[in-house]
């Protein structure tokens, strides 16, 4: 599989570390609900088909990305950055693309 890192471009998936279902979101730090935490840790939809998942470009820029991928065909549809720099990054990428065109 090839994942297009928003920073580094198209790379082999071996540079990335899989971090699991991106729809399983940790409850906020103020949330102390047992149910919510249990669901976050143990409940998985385990989708066959389009799957939103987290990867970390561990052997590259170490950005976390949300990859949308088909778990049956392994086709990758998109790759978006997450994290504190995601918005800035998106702007930079847009600017670069504009400059290139």
């Amino acid at each position: 599989m090839k994942i297009t890192c928003p920073y580094c471009g198209e790379r082999d998936h071996r540079e990335f570390t899989y971090r699991g279902d991106a729809t399983a979101i940790r409850p906020s730090i103020d949330n102390t609900s047992l149910d919510d935490h249990q669901a976050f840790v143990y409940d998985r939809k385990n989708t066959a088909g389009t799957h939103r998942e987290l990867w970390n470009h561990t052997s590259g820029c170490r950005t976390h990305v949300v990859v949308v991928r088909d778990t049956v065909s392994h086709e990758i549809f998109s790759c978006e950055p997450v994290g504190p720099f995601a918005k800035q990054l998106a702007r930079n990428v847009a600017k670069l693309k504009g400059a290139g065109a």
Binding site: M1, K2, E10, D12, H13, T17, R19, R26, I29, D30, T32, S33, L34, H37, Q38, F40, V41, L54, N56, T58, R62, T63, H64, S73, H74, I76, V82, G83, P84, A86
Partner: protein, 997 residues
């Protein structure tokens, strides 16, 4: 079969000497081992897997099921090499295999006498053993199995390591062209003309594919010459990389391909500084697959005698290698290509005695080709059996009615020592099938075609069912245009040559088996017969996968390249279904077998990196025995001459308690945490409070996994208002970094925190013992190390021999101790300075064993206690789990089962009678003979010089309530059973006076 070198080809080409089974032969430059053996009249080159029947040469390429030999010797000994692929070199050494005592006389051939009993499913139905009391089914089979195993297997594996090296290459390209036949050349040329970066791979030594032996003229030139020129022209282009002797073995997700280049297999040994083979990972924007087609046989009785081979292979031996496959060749075919093979062989000087075609009639051009071959022609006829002992002497021919699939008429005998058989062609779409592409049946071509593309590949030429040179050039260019579009290029320029030659029909008659008495082999290597296929049907193993698994059809080293479709055809006929209704099996990667070392690449002999601390060489020079700790090498102990590890660590640990020692802690994970929210971030990560840690102070912290179990521990130092240095366990460094980054990026992106792994940037030395302060005081400048200025858990900067350092007053040993960190490049200088400063206190370096002993005596937990199943409460650290704040793992750590009192809890045990407590012991109440069930187990074991006893930390059910209880530490696998007392794990200085002093 008695092949020979054809007159016309006797001159020319350098003579090459080689041996087969110890006998010397002479071949010629350009030969494969198969063609050279054939030229020397060697007909039996191997034995089949199951019946040990003699096997000859069946094909002229990588699809070979029969001619497997063992090549070279010593560490380069290689079993199961296809003689049809290996290029002859001077001094080549080959041996037949799976035979005893010799390939012509193999005692194991007695297997075939078992005949019909040894049919498909044989093993499943027997060897269960007598059913009587005390005789397990297992024992009988296990007894029989060892004999069966010895008889099975093909060649022998090597027994010593391979002296050659292997390498890996990564490549990206716009258009990957797989196969350098006519279609591949056309595709590569077209793609290159558009400016795309092209990589073209071909499994043979030279490109050209079928052009190398084709009778056609291209632009007025012989096809082989044209191909050679075309390859040269392509090679000269800057944007084209041609990889010959390179098989594209597998297609992976995302247009990623594995190709294996046989860099030096055509030499007796690799050139200096070159790998034997190179594994290419090619990532392509788009791909043209032009892998051609593989001829398949018609199955008939007696078809496994050496001398029966594929028609096109026979033709190629004659035309390309100048070797006659036999003195008299009979062609048996269901399609036109068999006739052309007969004609081309005859043109090369081979005597073709007969052409037998199952079809009642053929078109005029084809008939003319037959006439040119001067062969006797049998139309509407089939071979029903063969004659010969080990070698083929002739064949029986009867009339055959194609439509009703029935035999008739009288049996006639034709003398021949080679039968060249063609059952049509199967496109080689193995790569697309590996990716799950569903093949589609073409009734006209009687072949599966690759079907819909599931990735960015485009088929061309015979692989796509477009047979013949004109089709190859046209579809090659068409595929290239589609690939170019896919990769974002223009269409490029066309350059198709003018082709003069045969225009024939590639569609065969739908006849793939002649059902007549006698053993008819479908899978030549695994000895699967047509009757085995019918037996599988009778027993209900009718789905393709069941057929394959029950009979082992297609499971041999050739993966059924020449036998899959025939096997399917027989099952289809038996079930009275069409072939596509029966189905097709998926091809599995790789395309042809690949040496394991090639896939390991540079990791063959170098499994993983070795990490050494800056002081590594010093440790080794000073007697340290180095110990693998994950990727790191760390000193276990510094052994004086004649000293055992145990004596050394006891001496070292004692010295630390008495005076002072130093230990290399550079391997600890170190993470620099900075930013206005760094304190808040750490406060959420650690189970204990970090928000209010003052600048210049360190704190021991616990990290939990989100499920509330312990994850890692370490000290974190507040260097500045917005800057912390976190240390982690050596093993946990990577995981902790990922854990932090995950929470920073994904969970709390609003927190302003930057994280940098600095494990490699800092060298660390811990100085421990009552004299440690004096040692520091003697060498540290720009820092007051007095108790007042640098209290317990204080962190300061300073200098040692001019090296800037961080000094943190931390204690893992329970003694007064300091950790001193400096830039990694100064690690050795720092170490030397501390050793010099400690000289008058008789300072000792200590290793992991002593480090561990000191912390065990103190009851500090480490890796063995943080086993992923323990909670802070289990280890007596519940006090470090804040109830005043929220943090990772807080909620789930609170679950009742995590806090239950009957969990395994941290205790220590002490040997009562001086016997050694051995690692891996369990705590039980019973005697050595009847120990009872485990109630806990030891985790970290040592001899304690402080307590003068063997001790261990342990996890024990309800342990904290059991101090004073007498138990046994039992270790049956190490034959030990030691009486112990359960004690409080804080064995040395429980109040901490020594480290605070």
């Amino acid at each position: 079969m008695s092949g020979f070198r054809l007159k016309a080809a006797e001159t020319g080409g350098k003579a090459l000497h080689f041996t087969f089974d110890g006998k010397s032969f002479v071949g010629r430059e350009g030969d494969t081992l198969a063609s050279a053996l054939m030229a020397n009249g060697v007909s039996i080159v191997g034995r089949s897997f199951k019946y040990h029947r003699p096997r000859g040469i069946f094909t002229a390429g990588s699809e070979e099921p029969s001619a497997l030999v063992t090549l070279r010797s010593g560490g380069r000994h290689e079993p199961n090499v296809r003689a049809t692929e290996i290029e002859l070199y001077e001094g080549l050494e080959a041996r037949s295999q799976n035979r005893w005592p010799s390939v012509r006389f193999d005692l194991m051939a007695v297997n075939q006498l078992a005949g019909k009993a040894f049919s498909a499913g044989f093993y499943y139905k027997t060897f269960m053993g007598p059913r009587r009391a005390g005789h397990k089914a297992t024992q009988f089979w296990y007894f029989c199995e060892q004999f069966i195993r010895r008889a099975a297997g093909l060649g022998k594996g090597a027994t010593s390591a391979d002296p050659d090296t292997y390498s890996r290459m990564n490549a990206w390209c716009d258009v990957l062209v797989i196969g350098a036949g006519a279609a591949g050349i056309a595709a590569a040329g077209r793609a290159a003309s558009a400016g795309a970066r092209v990589i073209m791979c071909d499994e043979r030594a030279r490109g050209g594919g079928s052009l190398t032996g084709a009778p056609e003229l291209l632009d007025g030139q012989p096809a082989a010459e044209w191909a050679s020129d075309a390859m040269e022209e392509l090679a000269e282009l800057d944007n084209v990389t041609i990889l010959t002797r390179t098989t594209v073995q597998s297609m992976f997700d995302g247009d990623t391909y594995l190709a294996v280049e046989r860099v030096n297999d055509h030499r007796d040994e690799p050139k200096r500084h070159q790998p034997r083979q190179r594994a290419w990972t090619i990532r392509a924007a788009s791909t043209v697959i032009a892998t051609g087609a593989i001829e398949r046989p018609i199955v008939f009785a007696g078809n496994d005698r050496p001398g029966v081979m594929l028609a096109d292979a026979a033709r190629r031996y004659a035309v390309e290698y100048g070797v006659a496959p036999g003195r008299a060749v009979a062609v048996f075919t269901n399609n036109d290509t068999g006739w052309l093979a007969a004609r081309d062989m005859a043109r090369a000087g081979v005597i073709v005695s007969a052409i037998v075609d199952v079809r009642a009639d053929v078109q005029d051009d084809v008939r003319k080709a037959g006439e040119e071959s001067r062969a006797e022609i049998f139309l509407g006829a089939a071979i029903t059996g063969t004659r010969g002992w080990q070698e083929l002497q002739g064949a029986h021919v009867r009339d055959f009615h194609e439509v009703s699939n029935t035999l008739g008429g009288k049996k006639r005998f034709i003398g021949c020592d080679c039968i060249a058989v063609s059952g049509g062609w199967s496109p080689a779409f193995h790569l697309t099938s590996q990716q799950g592409g569903k093949p589609q049946w073409d009734a006209e071509l009687q072949a599966f075609l690759p079907g819909e593309a599931s990735a960015n590949w485009f088929g061309a030429g015979a692989m796509a069912g477009k047979f013949g040179l004109r089709n190859a050039f046209r579809t090659g260019e068409e595929a290239a245009v589609r690939a170019l579009t896919q990769a974002g290029f223009g269409e490029g320029e066309s350059s198709v040559p003018v082709i003069e030659g045969d225009a024939i029909d590639y569609a065969p008659a739908p006849v793939l088996e002649i059902n007549s008495p006698g053993k008819s082999f479908v899978d030549l290597q695994h000895d699967v017969t047509a009757d085995d296929v019918r037996l599988a049907h009778r027993e209900g193993f009718v789905s393709v996968e069941h057929l394959k698994r029950y009979t082992t059809l297609g499971m041999a080293t050739d993966q059924g390249k020449t036998s899959n479709v025939t096997g399917l055809a027989i099952m289809a006929q038996t079930r009275d279904m069409s072939i596509p209704e029966v189905g097709t099996t998926r091809f599995r990667p790789p395309y042809t077998p690949v040496a394991l070392a090639t896939l390991a690449g540079e990791q063959y002999g170098h499994l993983s990196t070795v990490r050494r601390t800056p002081m590594h060489d010093w440790h080794v020079a000073n007697g340290a025995h180095m110990y693998a700790n994950g990727p790191w090498l760390r000193p276990e102990s510094y052994n004086a001459p004649g000293e055992t590890v145990e004596q050394a660590y006891i001496r070292e640990a004692r010295k630390v308690r008495e005076s002072v020692g130093l230990v290399d802690v550079s391997t600890l994970g170190k993470i620099d945490v900075q930013g206005p929210d760094a304190a808040e971030f750490l406060n959420r990560i650690y189970s204990n409070g970090f928000a209010k840690l003052p600048v210049g102070k360190a704190r021991y912290g616990l990290m939990l996994r989100e499920d509330g179990f312990l994850f890692d521990d370490g000290t974190t130092w507040r260097l500045d208002e917005h800057r912390f240095l976190m240390t982690t366990t050596t093993a946990g460094a990577g995981h902790v970094m990922e854990h932090l980054e995950y929470h920073r990026d994904v969970v709390w992106p609003d927190l302003k925190v930057a994280l940098t792994s600095v494990s490699d940037e800092w060298a660390g030395v811990a100085v421990a013992g009552p004299k440690s302060r004096q040692v520091l005081a003697a060498c540290v400048t720009k820092c007051d190390v007095s108790n007042e200025a640098l209290p317990f858990m204080g962190v300061r900067t300073g200098e040692i021999v001019g090296i800037p350092v961080w000094i943190a007053r931390l204690s893992f040993s329970g003694e007064m101790a300091y950790e001193v960190y400096c830039g990694a490049n100064w690690g050795q200088a720092l170490w030397d300075a501390l050793m010099a400063a400690g000289e008058k206190h008789d300072i000792v370096p200590y290793g992991l064993e002593a480090l561990s002993t000191l912390r065990i005596e103190k009851g500090h937990v480490a890796g063995p206690e943080l086993n992923g199943r323990t909670t802070p409460g289990d280890l007596g650290l519940q006090g470090m789990v804040s109830s005043k704040k929220n943090f990772v793992g807080a909620v789930l750590n609170n679950r009742p089962a995590m806090q239950a009192e009957d969990r395994l809890q941290l205790v220590a045990i002490r040997s009562i009678d001086g016997q050694r407590i051995i690692g891996g012991s369990h705590l039980v109440k019973g005697t050595k003979d009847e120990p009872g069930l485990s109630e806990g187990h030891t985790t970290s074991t040592c001899f304690s010089p402080a307590l003068n006893a063997y001790i261990s930390l342990a996890l024990l059910e309800r342990g904290r309530a059991r101090f004073g209880e007498k138990m046994y530490a039992t270790n049956p696998v190490r034959d030990s059973h030691v009486a112990v007392e359960v004690i409080n794990p804080h064995m040395v200085d429980p109040k901490g006076a020594r480290m605070h002093g």
